[in-house]
Every structure is written in C-alpha cells, then in structure tokens.
C-alpha cells in the first residue's frame, strides 16, 4: 500500500494538496461572481465611506507629524479604506463556511480524503484572491474620482516593483484576515453570531489600526493600537503606497517596514495555525 519510492510519495502529496486547493479556490471565485450583490457590499461601502469621511473630516483633520505637508484626510484614509475592503471581503468569504455547514456542503468536503491543511489553504486562497480583486478595483477607481472632484490628487508615483511589493504585502494582510474570519466562522453555528463578533471585534480592530485616525504618541489608546497586529498591516501599506513615506522616520504611529512585515507574517502564521487546528478536530458542530 505504501508508495515504493520517495519520489512517488512527493508527487502524490503534491497532487494531494494542489488539486483540492485549486478546486476550493475555483468554487469560491465562481460563487462570488454569481452573486454580484456581494461585490457591491464589499466595495461600495468603503468607497462611499472614503468619499463622505474625506469630505466631512477635511476641515478638522490634523495631519500627523510624519505626514508630508498638506496631506488631506482623504489621502490619509486611503490605505485604511484599502484594508477595510480586504477585511470586508475576508469576512464575506468566510461567513459562507456557516452557510456551507447549514446547507450540508461542508460535510461532503469533510468526508473527502483531503488533508485538512489543503482544505484550509483552499478556502483562504479563494478569500485572499477575492480581497485582492476588490482592493485592486478600489486602487483603480479611487484615484479616478479626482476627475469628478470627489477626491484629491493622490500623486501615484509607484514603480512596477513598488506595485508588486504593495500587492504582495496586501496579500499577506488579506491572508491573515481571511484566516481570522475562517477561525471565527468555524467555531460559530450562526451567521448572527458572526455579525455580533464582527461589530464588537473586527470593526474595532480596524478602527484602532491607524486606518481611521493616527496612533497617538501616548495614553491607553496608543498602547491598544500598538498591540493591534493590524496597525502594522496599515502602516506597512502606507509606507509601500507612498514613496514620500517610504523613508519617513520610525515612530509609534509609523513603525519601520521591517517590523510591519515581521508582525504581519507572525499574525498570518498564528491565524493560519488556529484555522488548521480547528479544522483538524472532528466536531459535532459540523454535522447536521
């Protein structure tokens, strides 16, 4: 029964992983494009927030010390909205785990001879790709709004390498957030429960990530924000998005790119491990 050579073993285990990962990702994308309303929810709301908050807070916004001269609130908010889109897409794609369980689809996947890691990675890859597609749409649409007077000029001057680095980093953030959503959905048996956790945990996590307002230099809020792993995701994105900020001095509000990358990788690793651990257990919650 055991494969005779290690070569065969390697080939078998590769196909044991990539085929399920591919098919679960494919299903995720197919379902998404069949439900157009999901796109509106995950992209439309952040876009509207960006324009409305940008207009409303223009007067009262005080640019932080590290910001280039004359930074408007809308410019400041831009990376935060990108992360918000990623967060929303991650949530919407993982909440489907609860629906899959209720509709019976999940148990069909669970009895298949698929390594549980492949199952997790398939779902996460699907969610991450969707998040990147949505974020990319925003990165294209957002700057175009300056031509209708709804946004300031963002002064994009990214090189091709700069774009790649930014998308790469954003993928890491998206993967971590999708894994976080996955772990939550896996442990909950109703979408209502998920929505509750979203309002008291995920939204505050985003609000306190430096997306919406800068990290203060001191006080309890400063500490909460410094301990929030997503703060490093937003800061890293900020540095990668604007060439002016790439070399800005390191502060609590704007950590170095290296620490942003390290914290985001750690965040990603922890959430993926949690997702794998939860999936590995045979649990009564998954039967119906």
């Amino acid at each position: 029964m055991a494969p005779s050579s290690s070569d065969k073993l390697t080939r078998e285990s590769v196909s044991a992983y990539w085929l399920p990962i591919w098919t679960l990702t494919w299903r995720e994308l197919l379902r998404f494009f069949r439900q157009r309303t999901r796109m509106v929810g995950a992209l439309g709301q952040p876009l509207i927030f960006w324009v409305l908050f940008g207009a409303g807070l223009r007067g009262s916004f005080q640019a932080p010390e590290w910001a280039p001269v004359g930074m408007t609130y809308q410019e400041y908010f831009f990376p935060g909205v990108t992360v918000m889109i990623v967060l929303f897409t991650a949530i919407f794609s993982t909440i489907s785990i609860i629906e899959d369980r209720r509709e019976g689809f999940l148990q069909g996947v669970l009895v298949a001879p698929v390594p549980r890691l492949a199952l997790v990675l398939g779902k996460l890859t699907g969610g991450t790709l969707l998040a990147l597609i949505q974020a990319a749409l925003f990165l294209v649409i957002g700057p175009l709004l300056q031509f209708v007077g709804l946004a300031p000029s963002l002064g994009w001057q990214l090189t091709f390498g700069g774009w790649l680095a930014m998308i790469g980093f954003l993928s890491l953030v998206a993967f971590a957030l999708t894994a976080l959503g996955y772990s939550m959905a896996w442990s909950l048996d109703s979408t209502q429960g998920f929505h509750a956790l979203m309002s008291v945990f995920l939204m505050p996590m985003w609000l306190l990530s430096g997306s919406f307002f800068p990290v203060p230099e001191s006080g309890w809020l400063s500490w909460v924000m410094r301990l929030n792993p997503l703060t490093y995701g937003v800061a890293g994105l900020r540095r990668l998005m604007s060439p002016l900020l790439a070399a800005a001095p390191v502060s609590a509000a704007l950590p170095s790119l290296a620490s942003c990358l390290a914290v985001t990788c750690g965040f990603c690793l922890v959430t993926v491990m949690l997702a794998c651990w939860l999936t590995h257990r045979r649990s009564v919650i998954n039967v119906r």
Binding site: S15, A16, L19, P20, W22, T23, W26, R27, L30, R31, R34, Q35, D100, E103, G104, F105, L106, Q107, G108, V109, L110, V111, A112, P113, V114, P115, R281, R282, S283, V284, N286, V287, R288
Partner: protein, 312 residues
C-alpha cells in the same frame, strides 16, 4: 470477509446517549440496512462510520482501517451520500461533480469520463448544466448519489437515500444499488426507517434507543418470531385480551385499539377466535410477520411512537 467491524461503540451528545455499546459486523459485498425509528441512533452511527464524528468509546474498522487512527485511508475508500444534500446549490450538477472529483484526486479525461458515466446511469445527462438550486428534490438526490459514487468507492454509505424520491426514482435507486453489489462487489450500507426498503437489504441491524436489538436477514428476523401474525381490532380490546387469555391460554399484546398474537398455524386460531367472539371482534387480519412485527416483538413498542420522544 468483514467490511466494517464495530466494537462496543458508544456516543453521547452532551447528556443524551445516542449509541450505547453497539457491536456488529458488516460483510464485504452485502447490502446492509440499519433500520430504526428517528432518534434511534442510526444517523449517529452513519456519522461515525463516515469519519465526521470522533469515536468517544469503542472501536470501528472500515475495510481494515481504524476509523479513529486512519481516517484518510477510510475516506479514500468510502462514498458517502448524506440525507441533507451536500451539493453546492449555486453550482451546476456538473460543476459539483468536477469539484467532487478534484477533492478525490481525479482530473482530466478520466474525471470527464467518470462524470459522463455517472450522469448517464442516474439519468441526469440532460440536466448537467442546470443549477442545483433549480432542480427538484428527487433530481438533487440523484445528483447527490452520483457525487458519492464518482470515485468508485469500495463501500457506499447512504443516509436515508429514499427521502424525497418518488416511487419510480426509488425503484431506480435500488436497481442501481443492486447492480453495484452484483457487478462491482461494492458493499452498501443504508440507514432507513422504511420497512419496504429494509426488505430489500441482504441483512439488517435494528437500532432502537441506541442499542442493536436484532441482526439478521429479513427472513431470519421474521422467522425468529415464528408462524403467523394475527391483528385484531375490537371495541374493547383490553377486555377481549383478557377473555382470549382465559379461553385459549395465550397472551395477546395490546397496542391502542388493536391486539396482536404471534402463533404458528394462525389460520386455525383465527377460525376459533371468530367463532368464540363474533360480536367483540370488529375485524381480524392474518399475515406472515412483517419487519414491523419483528420490531414490535424485539422492543415492546411500536415503530413510530418513539418519534418525538427521541428528539428531546
């Protein structure tokens, strides 16, 4: 040869004991029916066999592999058909099958051929590009069965496969299961609460309140309660029961408005009863014992009265 060996299997959901020390074997190449009322424990057994639930106590081997220790070996070899369809309702029938094939490591030409074959066998070829959502319940079930059969499993587990099928489709399903057994040597395990379906199985296990109360072929089980079965309807069944006991020295069993007597040479007793109590008896019927009679004899209660009680 043994396909499934179950040893002292117990399972509880919190306080509620669903299986209490069940032990039996399923042979290779047979159609085995797990018969029992809702809440009797058959779905729990199905979930343990299909590797969905952990084994709390006891031991189960499927096709020689321990379900607790070698889940992926078991998963590779079994096909599972759920009571609640496990299809993605937003995908077409074919897309569901492609997805299933990929999960089981099938791809390319081989997968395409398998899909064509299963679709044809289950009469779904012309619906393959329909979204599952817009299929009727019966067609969804057929698609579910096609899904479970796609990777040529050695053993097929079906949970209440006839649910939602009309009589014609039910007939086709059983013809297909018999064909799998005869031509491919597939072992088939079905759970059911339908007596007519149980009759078609090679062997049966009767599950009631988490215990195995009987095991054998349908004919063996019927033979165990002997002879014929008389069912008597009466205005005053309790009173009649007492008088029959006094006069003939047999103890009828009382169920609601009816009395039941299991007796060899039942036709003679029927004649004597009607002569003795012409006014008290409303109607009387004589038959070979059914599986329902077996169930009643083994458990002391009717098949259906447990429903609801088991849900609590």
């Amino acid at each position: 040869m043994t396909a499934i060996r179950i040893e002292e299997l117990s399972h509880a959901y919190g306080e509620r004991q669903a299986l209490g020390g069940v032990a039996f074997e399923i042979r290779h190449g047979e159609i085995f029916g797990v018969l029992g009322p809702n809440g009797g424990g058959k779905t729990t057994l199905f979930r343990v066999l299909s590797t969905l639930l952990p084994i709390q106590s006891g031991r189960v081997t499927v096709l020689g592999f321990d379900v607790a220790a070698s889940a992926s070996e078991v998963r590779r070899r079994i096909g599972v058909t759920f009571q609640a369809p496990s299809l993605d309702r937003r995908l077409t029938v074919r897309e569901n099958l492609v997805h299933q094939g990929h999960l089981y490591g099938l791809s390319g030409r081989m997968l395409a051929d398998r899909i064509e074959d299963r679709l044809a066998k289950l009469g779904l070829s012309d619906r393959q590009h329909t979204l599952v959502n817009s299929l009727s319940g019966g067609l969804q079930r057929r698609a579910e069965i096609a899904k479970g059969m796609l990777h040529d499993p050695e053993l097929l587990l079906l949970d209440e496969p006839s649910t939602g099928l009309d009589p014609g489709a039910r007939h086709d399903l059983w013809r297909y299961l018999l064909q799998l057994r005869d031509e491919n040597g597939v072992t088939v395990v079905v759970t059911t609460h339908l007596m007519e379906e149980a009759e078609k199985c090679d062997r049966l296990g009767l599950l009631d309140r988490g215990k195995l109360v009987a095991l054998g072929t349908p004919a063996e089980l019927r033979a165990e309660i002997g002879g014929d079965c008389l069912t008597i309807l009466a205005e005053e069944p309790a009173q009649l029961s007492q008088r029959i006991a006094e006069r003939f020295g047999i103890e009828p069993k009382l169920f609601g408005q009816s009395l039941r007597i299991e007796q060899a040479r039942g036709h003679e007793l029927l004649r004597d009863l009607v002569e003795a109590f012409p006014d008290e008896i409303t109607s009387v019927s004589l038959g070979k014992p059914s599986l329902e009679d077996v169930f009643i004899a083994k458990t002391g209660h009717r098949f259906w009265e447990e429903e609801g009680a088991g849900e609590k």
